[in-house]
């Protein structure tokens, strides 16, 4: 009787453990969420693990997703930008490894499009955290460089371009880059679109995920953050190459998600 009980308990333990194992094994095959981000980031431009520059061989599952990181369990991939759970003075979502910047009164003249966006829209409404500040913490004009040719080609048709790192000048007309003109960030899109409804699509809400319009229907890949357009509205930092544009820019498709043209 005792033996039977022991066997039953053992079976139960094995079953629970196996179930847990199954769960763990299933995680890397998930197509969305954190695991997808992790898989996409490995060896990409935002993989800052110290030996990611080396030629690594990843163990992969049946779908080709990496299941282990070759640098071993002590090397964290996410810590460079995210802190486990809620960091001190931090932000619950998306767990930034920095303090919240709500209400610090910043203005970035450099990222205000003085030609097309009236003043007042590139500021930080109370309650909206400035996500772009995190990006610019590294992309300060010195890093995040791409081959100029990759950017100078379609879709913008820029010619004579020079550097493409965030923070450098970019001006479509003159062929120089001036991000003031083409990359306004920390920009109150909801407020601007609401006041200019004939020109811009107004999202249903200023919730984190905006269903933009692509002419034939809604898309959900353009994200606003508290109604604000930030770097990550159009660029996905969890990418393995390129500049992580979240939606195709072919034939103006990215443009008309916001512009009514």
């Amino acid at each position: 009787m005792k033996k039977l009980l022991f066997v039953l308990v053992a079976l139960l333990v094995v079953a629970v453990f196996a179930n847990g194992q199954n769960l763990l094994q299933k995680l890397p095959t998930m197509t969305g969420g954190v695991q997808a981000s992790r898989a996409a980031m490995l060896k990409g431009p935002h993989d800052f693990t110290p030996d990611s520059g080396a030629v690594n061989t990843f163990a992969t599952d049946s779908l080709g997703n990496p299941t282990t990181h070759p640098t071993g369990s002590t090397k964290s991939l996410c810590q460079y930008c995210h802190s486990p759970h809620v960091p001190k003075d931090g932000i619950a979502n998306p767990l930034w490894a920095r303090k919240s910047l709500v209400g610090s009164g910043r203005t970035w003249g450099y990222y205000q499009d003085v030609n097309t966006i009236p003043s007042g829209y590139v500021t930080d409404p109370v309650g909206s955290d400035n996500y772009s500040a995190f990006c610019l913490g590294c992309h300060d004009g010195s890093t995040g460089i791409l081959a100029a040719s990759a950017y100078v080609a379609a879709p913008f048709g820029l010619t004579g371009g020079t550097s493409t790192q965030v923070g450098y000048s970019a001006n479509v007309v003159s062929g120089e880059f001036n991000l003031q003109h083409v990359h306004p960030v920390n920009f109150d899109y909801v407020g601007f679109a609401t006041n200019n409804p004939q020109e811009f699509y107004t999202p249903a809400s200023s919730a984190a995920v905006w269903s933009g319009n692509n002419g034939s229907g809604q898309i959900t890949t353009i994200r606003l953050f508290g109604g604000m357009m930030q770097c990550s509205s159009c660029h996905n930092p969890h990418m393995n190459s390129g500049i992580g544009v979240v939606y195709t820019s072919n034939y103006g498709q990215l443009c008309v998600t916001c512009h009514k043209k």
């Binding site: 110290p50 920095r98 009164g105 450099y110 590294c138 004009g141 010195s142 890093t143």
Partner: protein, 342 residues
């Protein structure tokens, strides 16, 4: 006597600040002239002195009038200041991601773009250093260091084409007539003589002792030892003059004494370390045992803080210069001398 000189400094700086405030007529400036760290009731050790923003800094007073007559109209405004170095006699040089290389002369009250006569395209300048009358500029689009003389003429190159794909910092060791080139993409420090002869290299990518993961900048102490900011290992590594690893300190975090985006480092005449952090938006001061003494700054568009500060430099009189990237300015502070004696 030391106390007296310090007092004299405070009075002098208050006078200067008062003069500047009087010129601009701004209440805020008057308040800023009394910005010190730590605040009362503690003994102040660091004082805010002024902000450098470009040609407009010299548009008031007699010199400003002369400049206006001479045709300078305040055209040069810092846009994305990146690295700064200190030449002698009140001159500094800086690199700006949009403007290129700039000479800022406080004595002659001039701001001059350097590069017209250099003869090479320096559109992506990064680190900059000054030694023995020459300016050394790391140029990313060339992958080389360009040597410029006092008249702004290009007089030499260091390195092969694309040898330093992102030379974020150049450090001059004037005693040994060396320059150190910190390359963020090769994860390595290159050591050259001022004449341009390759001496040796330090490190490669990794997380072990003497290795780097996106090194950003460096500084040398009074012994000639090199301290490298190793950004994504969240630490400072020390090397001796032969490139041998000695020790390191630091870890990731948002507590006092930890780093989030350590970017700049400078060392004062007492061998205290000033580590500038782009996400903490402050510089933390450590003594030579790496014990934290204090910190200055937070996220702010005002003179009490920074928005994404990038590099820090300290001159012989312990005046501190910080390039405040998104605020488009250089913030100047003064170490209040005797206060840091232990």
């Amino acid at each position: 006597m030391i106390r007296l000189s310090s007092l004299a400094f405070i009075v002098l700086s208050a006078l200067i600040a008062g003069f500047l405030a009087g010129c601009s007529g701004s209440k805020e400036s008057e308040m800023d002239s009394r910005l010190v760290w730590p605040g009362p009731p503690d003994t102040p050790r660091i004082a805010y002195v002024k902000s450098l923003k470009g040609e407009d800094d010299f548009s008031s007073g007699l010199g400003g009038v002369l400049n206006t007559i001479a045709g300078n109209k305040g055209d040069i405004k810092f846009q994305r200041p990146f690295d700064v170095c200190i030449a002698d006699s009140g001159r500094i040089y800086l690199t700006d991601a949009m403007l290129g290389v700039i000479e800022y002369d406080m004595k002659r009250r001039e701001v001059n773009p350097i590069g017209e006569f250099v003869g090479v395209d320096m559109k992506d300048p990064r680190g900059i250093a000054y030694a023995h009358g020459k300016v050394y500029v790391g140029v990313a689009n060339l992958g080389q260091v360009i040597v410029i003389d006092g008249k702004g003429r290009g007089i030499g190159k260091i390195g092969r084409a694309n040898q330093f794909p992102n030379p974020l910092d150049i450090v001059a060791d004037t005693v040994r007539s060396r320059i150190y080139i910190v390359d963020n993409r090769r994860h390595q420090v290159f050591v050259y003589s001022e004449k341009g002869d390759s001496l040796f290299t330090i490190g490669h990518r990794g997380s072990g002792e003497g290795e780097f993961n996106f090194p950003e900048s460096a500084a040398i102490d009074s012994h000639g030892n090199l301290f490298v900011v190793d950004v994504f290992n969240y630490r400072i590594e020390e090397f001796d003059t032969t490139g041998r690893y000695i020790r390191s300190f630091g870890k990731q975090g948002d507590a006092y004494g930890t780093f989030a985006r350590p970017k700049g480092i400078a060392i004062d005449s007492h061998d205290n370390f000033y580590v500038l952090d782009g996400l903490h938006n402050n510089f933390q001061i450590f003594d030579s045992n790496f014990d934290l003494l204090m910190f200055v700054g937070h996220y702010s568009p005002n003179n009490d803080g920074f928005q994404n500060p990038v590099s820090i430099a300290i001159d012989r009189s312990n005046t501190i210069y910080v390039t405040d990237n998104l605020n488009q300015r250089i913030q100047v502070f003064q170490l209040l001398e005797d206060q840091t004696k232990k």
